[in-house]
Symmetry: C2
Subunit: 380 residues, 2 copies
């Protein structure tokens, strides 16, 4: 990820059309998530070179069938469709990419963006909460969003029912960002179609999923990390204890963002989530000022990516025999219970660069999965 860790006063690496195409093909290829993407970029410097290395890496990781790269034709078609829709693709190495999001470990390498992309680099507060929010919850969210807007904050949310829709509505006159779970063209829920059109013209919509993708359950937590990643802080308005909003709050905290919560009566199940967050140290929000006062002192607006945590990724390109030996040792030491890469390195008495390279291969082969907190788990 340090490839993208450039202060904005330095010129970001130029991506020509060929390399952009390679970026898109790499991130759209099965088993390549954002962290693997950045690891590959560290190793091979360009997406073009990483794409070439993929078949061998995945085969050595133990993949039986050849890996199917996302085709150039499909990538060209996606870019074309996106443009016809009036949207565009923004790459993590470009100046237009939101700096605050780029500072997160697993930022989407490519975002599809519809609307005014300049809003993505303005000070932003995320607002999330229950889809079946109470009338008071929605009124409060709309008011807070309006007041934040009046103080020049963008408001980011997820275009869902309830709190999300109220937050977007309140911030619409001053600027709002919707992160959607499916493709940029997929309006979900359909009842928010009018809001989608308004945000498209007056705000900005972003999507990590490919154009045309229907949102699946697993896309929502990924979408949530984009909302918090765009924001210096996230406000949870109403949420039950088991809700996605609490996951967003946790992701926000892990990203080093402020977490705020709106209190409610202990008998109100929709207050259980925010109240729990307050007990755990979230900032208590009675008015937008409670957020603004705290955010003024937060340096996210001046954050350079150099200040983002740097994963210690320094892979070693191994020959087949070395890789085989190390893979055996690693496979004996991992299981369906997650372990951290650090524990693995200690237990196996191997060098970090060698372990990293073999893990990358196993990941591409679909045999392990990366979890948050630099942990891995065996799959299948």
């Amino acid at each position: 990820m340090s490839l993208f860790a450039l202060p904005r006063d330095q010129k970001p690496p130029e991506l020509d059309d060929k390399e952009k195409l390679a970026w898109l093909r790499l991130i759209r290829t099965d088993n390549v998530g954002p962290i693997t993407f950045y690891n590959l970029m560290e190793t091979y410097q360009t997406a073009t070179a990483a794409l070439e290395a993929l078949p061998k890496l995945s085969k050595r990781g133990g993949r039986l069938k050849d890996i199917t790269l996302f085709s150039e034709q499909d990538a060209l078609k996606e870019i074309d469709t996106v443009e016809k829709h009036g949207a565009e693709m923004v790459f993590a190495a470009e100046a237009a990419y939101p700096l605050s999001l780029a500072a997160t470990e697993d930022a989407p390498p490519v975002l599809t963006v519809l609307g005014n992309k300049k809003l993505l680099n303005l000070p932003t507060i995320g607002m999330v909460g229950a889809r079946n929010a109470s009338l008071n919850g929605r009124k409060f969210a709309e008011k807070i969003a309006r007041d934040l807007g009046a103080e020049n904050f963008m408001v980011a949310s997820g275009l869902a029912r309830g709190i999300d829709a109220a937050a977007h509505t309140g911030a619409l006159p001053t600027g709002t960002i919707a992160a959607v779970a499916g493709g940029i063209d997929n309006i979900y829920p359909p009842e928010n179609a009018e809001l989608y059109e308004q945000i498209k013209f007056e705000g900005c919509i972003v999507a990590e999923s490919p154009f045309g993708m229907e949102p699946l359950a697993r896309h929502f937590p990924k979408r949530n990390r984009i909302i918090s990643g765009l924001s210096s802080g996230v406000v949870v308005v109403e949420a039950t204890l088991k809700s996605g909003s609490l996951i967003t709050a946790r992701l926000a905290a892990e990203q080093g963002r402020d977490v705020y919560a709106v209190p409610g009566h202990p008998f109100d199940p929709r207050a259980a989530g925010p109240n729990k967050l307050l007990q755990d140290g979230a900032g208590l929000v009675l008015s937008a000022d409670d957020i603004i006062r705290n955010t003024q002192s937060f340096a996210i607006h001046n954050l350079t990516l150099n200040e983002a945590p740097q994963p210690s990724w320094n892979p070693q390109i191994l020959d087949d025999f070395e890789a085989e030996d190390i893979r055996e040792i690693i496979l004996q030491n991992i299981s369906h219970t997650a372990v951290t890469v650090d524990e693995l390195v200690r237990n196996c008495q191997l060098t970090i660069p060698a372990v990293q390279m073999v893990l990358l291969e196993l990941e591409l082969a679909g045999r392990i999965q990366r979890l948050a907190g630099n942990r891995i788990v065996l799959i299948n």
Copy 2:
């Protein structure tokens, strides 16, 4: 106050009937509040000796008419009436006096007690809140009180409408303490007469005001400091921003007690008080366990009065000429705006013992008033 600062394993000073009578006469005399009472006791060792000194002290402080001491006859009559009511008087130097309350700076030197006085030395949580509480607020208060009782905590409150009544009701089966603003015999509000009778038989009622006294507005803040003084922590359930409950919370914090608050929606004016307290660092209460968990680590149960803050009271008995000179200087340096005694000592370049003695005289003469935080203000 150090007179009463004895660990409970040391024998408290014996008070014979004559000295008890003198205590009662001293505290019932005009212009003698608890702090003045303890200052006088420090200087004269016994209430009998302090009573004898009062006329001269108050005259020297500038009182034109002779001070009227509370008569022996009236004191005997009050003791007799209290006993006929089935109550008794408990003095701050006695083992039965609540230790937690005695640790406060301005503990009532005499409490009238009705019911089971043993409850006064058990671990106690105070609960306060709005008189016009919501149904949910009352239900929550009753539940928390019941759950605290089940975990062997006494619940102290003020026998008012709303939250107070709900807290007493919830804790009735396990033990509850009502601190009333008027005399021990004065049931206010009258609608709580049945609750009063129940607490009398199953709990304990305490009063600082003399028997027969109707509660006046100024008695309520005094009553509130008794609720918090009896408690290791105080829970505010529903309260507007300008309510007496917030004053109780402030007093509790000043007494070194924990402050807890029950959250509510920002649109609910009765949640404004607790929400403000939460922003200021109060503990957030969703269940009795949120209080108990915190209180287990609190040492109030083992508190000895020696650990209570000791006011630095070391008065100097002055001759008339010295007193006259010092009084002039002090009167030039005080006004209707409060100053701290420390500031006064610095500005006047006088010794602390001399200033303390002259302030005591001025107070007895009704020319100054003591405020919280060791401050004084000119009156009339």
